[in-house]
Symmetry: C2
Subunit: 96 residues, 2 copies
């Protein structure tokens, strides 16, 4: 069982992820990405898919042409866990 972050851990984690927003209703984090075109957007999605499969932790995400929106939460934990923070950092590293 993965444990939800407690309040102090959550605040620390969000401070370290300035490009992500906290969706309080879902206890999730979200980030929107914009690329030059669909080809670049889907190339990014493919890299995220490989990260997700390797970590066995998968995003909720959508794509419209050059835009990708990613939401991370941990269903098993009923909210944000360390696995979401790790995935967000790995995704950020792809676009830095």
């Amino acid at each position: 069982m993965v444990e939800q972050l407690n309040q102090a851990e959550r605040e620390d984690a969000l401070d370290g992820l300035p490009d992500w927003d906290h969706d309080e209703g879902r206890d999730a984090i979200t980030r929107n990405f914009t690329f030059a075109d669909f080809s670049e957007a889907f190339a990014f999605m493919t890299r995220v898919a490989l990260l997700a499969e390797k970590a066995d932790h998968h995003p909720e995400w959508s794509n419209v042409y050059n835009r990708v929106e990613i939401l991370l939460t941990t269903h098993d934990a009923g909210g944000l866990s360390g696995r979401d923070i790790d995935m967000a950092q790995a995704i950020d590293a792809l676009v830095e």
Copy 2:
């Protein structure tokens, strides 16, 4: 400029796509797909991405683990066009 389908064309097209729903508010068609797991879902998405890029006609779509939801409409036409019907048929062919 791509032309919107007229009412008769729209009805004929939807009759030929029984697995797709008509979203009247958006004048779009939608279909939900369920796969065994994320790997299968993303493999399908990759094939759809290749179709979309080749046709230069891209879906609005989302994925959560083994589920993929696709919405097709033609922004340039302000609603459904023949390009959406062609894309829906090509997507259906992938999963038949």
